[in-house]
Amino acid sequence: MSRLPEQPGERISRSKTISFRFDGKTVQAYEGDTIGSALYAAGRRTFSRSFKYHRRRGLMCCAGQCPNCLVAVDGAPGVRACTEPVRDGIDVRHMNARPGLDFDVMRATDLAPSALTPPGFYYKTFIRPRRLWPVYEKVLRHAAGLGVLPKKQAEREWRTEYRRRHADVLVIGAGAAGLRAATAAAELGADVVLCDEGPEPGGRLLAEGHHERARALADEARSAGVEILVNAPALGYFDGLVPVWQGATLHQVRAKQVVFATGTIEQPLVFAGNDLPGVMLSDGARRLAALYAVRPGARAVVATTSDRGLEAAVALRDAGVEIAAVADLRPDAAAGGALGDRLAAGGTEVLAGHTILEARGRTTVTGAVLGRADGSGGEREVDCDLVIISGGAAPATSLVAQAGARTTYDAARGVFRTGELPDAVHAAGDLTGAVGGEAVRLSGSLAGTEAAHALGLGDGASRARVQEAHRRLADLNTQAVAVAVPPAVAGGERGKCFACFCEDVTAKDIKASIAEGYDSIELSKRYTTVTMGPCQGRMCQLTSVRVMGQETGQTLEQVGLTTARPPWSSVPMGALAGRPIEPAKRSSIHGRHRELGAKILWAGDWRRAYDYGDPQGEAVAVQRAAGLIDVSTLGKMLVRGPEAGAFLDRLYPNRFSNLKPGRIRYGVISSDAGRIVDDGTICRLDDETFYVTTTSSGAGAMEEWFGWWLADWRMDVHMTDVTQAIAAVNLAGPRARDIMATVCDLDVSNEAFAYMDGKRGLVAGVPCLILRIGFVGEVGYEIHYPAAHGEHLWDALIAAGAEHGLRPFGLEPQRLLRLQKMHILVGQDTDSESTPFAAAMPWIVKLDKADDFIGKWALEHYADVEPETALVGFTMADGHVPTEGAVVVQGTTPAGQVTSSRYSPQLGRVIGLAWVASSLARDDARITISDAGSTYEATVQNKPFYDPEGEVLRS
């Protein structure tokens, strides 16, 4: 165990020991440990195998930034060990190594000559011979990717959900600047959410000896009423909507103002072996020591470009790590100032103008080669088990750039920081290039206050504070920064220098891609996949820009950054999916259908009964006795007002203003292009009121269509959608009238209640609107009534019909029955090109109507033009049921298609509807249907297959 004595501000509770398993072995940990800190304390140095070369990788950032510690926890792959808290009994396993982490056969890819694995290796190698692609694919699929999902579905499922959070201000990043910004905005009365990817607010303060200040700042924010979300990375910026992922919850934060205080990401240096376990970022080493009291190594070499590395060296030395040597890239030995002096006084050699050229070691670091940055020698090898690197601090600009901020190149630091910001977007802290702790905190307060001002909060005093803060900040930020910009690569001739740890892209690979012509940063990114791995460019963006600049002779400003895209943090797909919320409409009789054994399927957004197990028998029952079908899904509207008749006359090609109260008429809705849009029946209830039904699938669209024209025409008409308020059943068949007579208080004789009459009366004690229409070709009553009585009336009819042979029937037998009558199904038998003329319904169009109506001009045109194709009925010569959509052919030329087809047990033959060339749209014409490789003969018929004259209907 390499635990240090108690560290001030450490996060672990030494009194609480817990254990978990790693690759089957038990590991002890303290509460507060991460999986990474516990494994490191237990002596583990290799945490993963790299993507392509299967090289050993160890802890590097200890902040969830790099890809080096991805593990699977309880079956969920892609978890970062360095930030994932240890929980008692969890099962942690390594990823991407077979058979094990310490011996991985795929390591051969690293040892092979690199000429075999250049960038674009996959594209170049596996394209020929083409016939081998299935084999390649199998191998590549096996090799590609990092994690493996559990095989059992149950183990792949976990509960996730969305949480919508509206806020006045969202602050992203809970470092010193973010905490100050949140507090400042909240104190002025704003409703503030603050999120941070770490487990505790405070950011860098926590690991750099300022934990007390961090906790004080967090307390201030809490007292001001800020909602603080920890372990909660912001994933991206979607036009003001910021998804923040926190375990099982995806917070969708919609804030009026957003403050970005995402800080900086310490950059690695690019040198030979820079990925070897034991090479660690200075921040990572400090986190291990300060937060988890884990000694990162016994003897360290430090390579830095700024004071950040020197500060780490001092802190780690104080924690008990021997600092063997420090290579400070800054040429001036005095740059390190007091820090350098302190190190030197402790016996550490500080080498100015030096950097690290190579990390040596087989499985972990055993030594480092330092040398002059300008290549002028001075090389020396130092034994060590830890290499601490600090290659500069790159502002984490991705999120703020997604929000529309520009980035500007900061030549003094060699990094990109925020530039011009759009409205409602603020930046604070290191992200803005603030110099020093005071500037960071001040820029935070300033951003928070300005965000509150943008909301109309604040007062004279707060505005005065803003003025003062701007002045002070300008002064502070003009202080010089002592930072050296590292070379793109150092020690390149000594071995692989990784630019991108996620995708195993070396600096040499980027150079090679440039040589191949991918000489812009966006192209190089796509070709080499640098910045496209789990780190999302955190570790590699700046490096790749530097290599590009060096190779193409451009300034870094000219090279620029690649477009920032979400997700900024890796996130499981399940978290993005949320709960499976799928609106399902159910008829008020739905429960009864299920009890009757109905097959329930989706029909649009409804759950519907397709049949009750015997579709053909159900259809036969309707024709021989009686059937009952739930048609509650039909669209239903009340259209009311003195101009209601005129309104319908303008919407439909036929007339409704002359319909008598109590009578029903069929109508087809046409577009202004003369195409069939929907159909249904309309019953006039009284002078001013019409009850309009539409197709089930068209209900929503028709409500919108009616409402749209009403909004435009502004007639004195009220339109109310009552689709869901009303249950509707259709009772049909030769015995339907007998059944009705037993439950209905109206005289249902044919004389009193004729075909196409609509009457109001009681059925089983429920007030109903009863429409006598020929829905399925038999005597039928469509009964409309309050949905709350759905089951009651259904049950009453089923009971009353029992002695008459009544059976419930579903959607499938209904389609057969309607097909026998050649009732078209809009959307099934028609498409966006079908006119009423071509669909064999010329009678529906009343071109003699004096007034204009929707579709009139187009229909006038089509009335005079012979349609190219026409919808006809057909009977198959044999028993084959053609697939709906099968092609009607003339010779070998497609000339139409089958839209509906069924075997009719009543007729004893296969019938259908099809679009055919107009020349064939005559009775007894022979057509040929091509289906699944064979052709079949059929005969055209224009009259309904069943009851062609409608005598049954009217009886």
Partner: protein, 121 residues
């Protein structure tokens, strides 16, 4: 009264924007149905060519246009919005009878017939 719409990032293209329903107030754009650019129906019988233009052609401007929206998830009313198609910035929304008079005459004539006037610039 035309209602102003919040614009989180003025000047930049936004996709998941907010709309102000004149009846219900500010909602996510996913609350609404889009009815397309406003194209007045011909008042008199059009020629067949004019009819086809009205039915099938749109001005499709890169710029500010008036369009129909439907508050599908809310009051289920149609209203008019003025939106910049380049940025999705919505300048205002209003009920049809409360929309400001259109400045450009093209918004009052069939969309299609103005198609020829739309410049490529």
């Amino acid at each position: 009264m035309p209602a102003p719409c919040p614009s989180p990032t003025r000047g930049a293209l936004v996709m998941s924007y907010l709309l102000t329903c004149p009846n219900c107030g500010v909602r996510e754009v996913t609350d609404f149905g889009y009815g397309g650019e406003i194209a007045a129906r011909p008042k008199e019988r059009p020629s067949f060519r004019e009819l086809n233009t009205y039915n099938y052609f749109r001005r499709n401007v890169a710029g500010v246009q008036r369009e129909w929206w439907f508050h599908r998830s809310g009051c289920r009313a149609w209203f008019v919005a003025e939106r910049d198609t380049r940025t999705n910035e919505v300048h205002w929304t209003a009920l049809p009878d409360q929309a400001p008079a259109a400045e450009e005459p093209s918004a009052q004539v069939p969309a299609g017939s103005a198609g020829g006037e739309a410049t490529l610039a």
